[in-house]
């Protein structure tokens, strides 16, 4: 039921392309509870129709790889509720449209939830057939803890 929806969490990326798979890997590791109105899932991020699935949720957390020149595996959190996130750092991952473009399009078409938070994990290796690099892998559990804590706070707010 729509009234039960509280938060949608999506890990975006392609698991066959190295660190691009960090978004799906993180959401896979997030603990799930039933009937708490939180939906957690992964998406390859290749289809702009994904923005239709955002519509109607009060809040949206997106987890994706970035290339922003930071320390490999480090986390940057963006509040995209009012402003778009930088195209150049998300545009370097392997999706059809970068996440920032999807957010901009959803905002343009009135499909964006009022609260949008983006978790960007600095990646290094995006080659096909590669697995997540060790430097990124080493930080996954820490990032999972952080996002899980944010989810808990959101539910209790």
């Amino acid at each position: 039921m729509a009234s039960l929806r509280t938060l949608l969490v999506i890990g975006i990326g392609n698991e066959l392309r190295g660190d691009d798979g960090v978004g799906p890997a993180i959401v896979k590791a997030l603990p799930r509870s039933s009937n708490d109105g939180v939906e957690i899932r992964a998406d390859r991020g290749e289809d702009p129709c994904i923005i239709d699935t955002w519509e109607g949720w009060p809040a949206l957390f997106l987890v994706d790889a970035i290339c922003a020149g930071g320390e490999i595996g480090s986390l940057r959190v963006f509040d995209a509720s009012q402003e778009d996130v930088p195209t150049n750092i998300f545009g370097r991952t392997t999706h059809t449209f970068s996440l920032s473009e999807m957010i901009a399009l959803a905002r343009q078409l009135g499909k964006l939830p009022s609260v949008v938070r983006v978790y960007g994990i600095e990646g290094k290796e995006f080659g096909i057939g590669k697995s997540i690099s060790k430097a990124v892998e080493d930080t996954v559990s820490q990032t999972v803890l952080r996002i899980n804590e944010d989810i808990r706070r959101w539910k209790n707010a």
Binding site: D47, D52, T94
Partner: protein, 454 residues
């Protein structure tokens, strides 16, 4: 011109920039991809003294990795593996795989299975073509940097595009069990075949989609197109049944080619070129050729449904069309056909007594070719006694078109050297996108660089 217009999005780099003809100097146009993996793709055009010296298109080629991955795997695992090559056209990879495997095992499936496969494939044509027409190519013609910028002025048109694409997704989900990497497909048929009455909801969606596709054709036919043509060798399939080619057929061209799928490698060759990690295809002794919507439209116009033929004629779009920029119209007509054809197939469909037929492994070689949205997709597999894959060969449409894209750009730039650099760069990007190459996924991140080298 709005500040959103694409020219404002062009970036220049390098200290010495000039759009003027300058004999004696070398000008290099580089179209780089910011997205995807660096070093995997790019476009470089070198100009000296007003003439093109070199065109190099470097494309991404995930199939190479998958060919290696498939070795040693069971024949019936292959459709699930190859569907992961592309998130936009998983059905094309599955269908070419299945076609080759059934050819290897000597299996022929019944009509309802063939109908379901064709419907599933139509879903992919709708979603993939609509993504390209609305979100990637139309902004080029209308002067917008991207679909997001286009959405500011035309939100209803962009919404229509997304809805139309979604109907394609829904059809794939309904028949394939999942819209990305369909899981209901197997060698020999499907895991589950739907009952006729289950189509009720999707029929309503397709009726809307057919109207929206008709609007799409009218919309794109009003765009203005560069006045430019080339004498291509168009290559596509010709279906055994009197229908437009999608999931099977034999190879034909407008220059006399007529061969069976298992003869493909006797006529076509793949070669390494120094500038690209990908293999470039050509017709032996004849060179570049073109696959995709324009080839299919030109060589199979008589096989389109009456509605699509009439629509094409009403906008004055009849074969032969040799202007690659008009591929957006052919693509839109194919969206219309895919909706119309699915509605016809649903009407004829009667669920099969069994959803699939048994397959028995044997040492064999199988060949398969189907029409992916962006052109013909060829697969060959060699199996051992136990059905384990010993060798896999996958030739995607993008590598088949690579030579044609380079030749287009060569002649196109040569004939437009006097244009301001921003306009010419834009038209170069647009010319690459005419082919809806796999790199179109990244094409809106293209950065055009102009350099003048002493």
């Amino acid at each position: 011109m709005s500040s959103d217009k694409k020219n404002s999005g062009q970036k220049d780099s390098g200290q010495k920039i000039s759009g003027q003809r300058n004999p004696g100097k070398t000008r290099t146009i580089e179209v780089n991809y910011l997205a995807r993996v660096e070093g995997e793709g790019g476009l470089k055009i070198k100009v000296k003294g007003g003439h093109v010296q070199e065109v190099q298109l470097n494309i991404f080629e995930p199939p190479r990795f998958f060919e290696a991955l498939l070795q040693g795997r069971r024949y019936d695992e292959a459709p699930d593996i190859t569907s992961r090559i592309c998130g936009i056209c998983p059905v094309a990879y599955q269908m070419s795989t299945i076609s080759a495997m059934e050819n290897a095992l000597g299996v022929t499936v019944d009509l309802p299975i063939r109908q379901l496969r064709r419907m599933l494939y139509c879903g992919e044509w709708v979603e993939s073509h609509t993504l390209h027409v609305y979100m990637l190519h139309a902004p080029d013609f209308l002067g917008y940097e991207s679909a997001i910028h286009m959405a500011k002025q035309f939100p209803e048109i962009v919404k229509r595009g997304l809805q139309l694409k979604k109907v394609g997704n829904e059809l794939m989900q309904f028949l394939g069990g999942r819209e990305i990497h369909p899981i209901n497909v197997r060698v020999g048929g499907f895991y589950r075949a739907p009952l006729k009455r289950e189509f009720k909801e999707i029929v309503q969606r397709l009726l809307w989609a057919r109207d929206a596709a008709l609007e799409t054709v009218k919309w794109v036919s009003d765009f203005s197109f560069p006045d430019w043509e080339r004498d291509y060798e168009f290559v596509c399939l010709r279906a055994t049944d009197p229908v437009y080619p999608i999931e099977e057929g034999t190879f034909i061209s407008n220059k006399g080619l007529a061969i069976d799928v298992n003869d493909y490698e006797n006529w076509f060759t793949e070669e390494h070129v120094a500038h690209s990690t990908a293999l470039q295809s050509s017709l032996k002794g004849r060179g570049a050729y073109l696959v995709g919507p324009l080839a299919r439209f030109n060589l199979n116009f008589d096989r389109l449904s009456p509605l699509v033929q009439e629509t094409a004629k009403s906008i004055g779009f009849v074969p032969p069309i040799r202007n690659p920029f008009k591929s957006i119209i052919a693509r839109s007509l194919e969206i219309l056909y895919a909706c119309d054809e699915t509605l016809r197939l649903i009407e004829e469909y009667q669920s099969p007594s069994v959803p699939s037929i048994a397959t028995v492994p044997r040492a064999s070689i199988g060949f398969g070719a189907t029409e992916a949205p962006r052109g013909v997709l060829y697969h060959r597999y060699r199996l051992d006694d136990n059905g384990l894959i010993q060798e896999a060969k996958i030739v995607p449409p993008t590598s088949q078109n690579q030579k044609s894209v380079e030749m287009d750009l060569w002649q196109f730039v040569e004939s437009r050297m006097s244009l301001p650099k921003k306009e010419l760069s834009w038209q170069c990007e647009q010319a690459v996108r005419n082919y809806d190459p796999c790199i179109s996924c990244a094409a809106h991140f293209m950065e055009v660089r102009w350099e003048e080298i002493e």
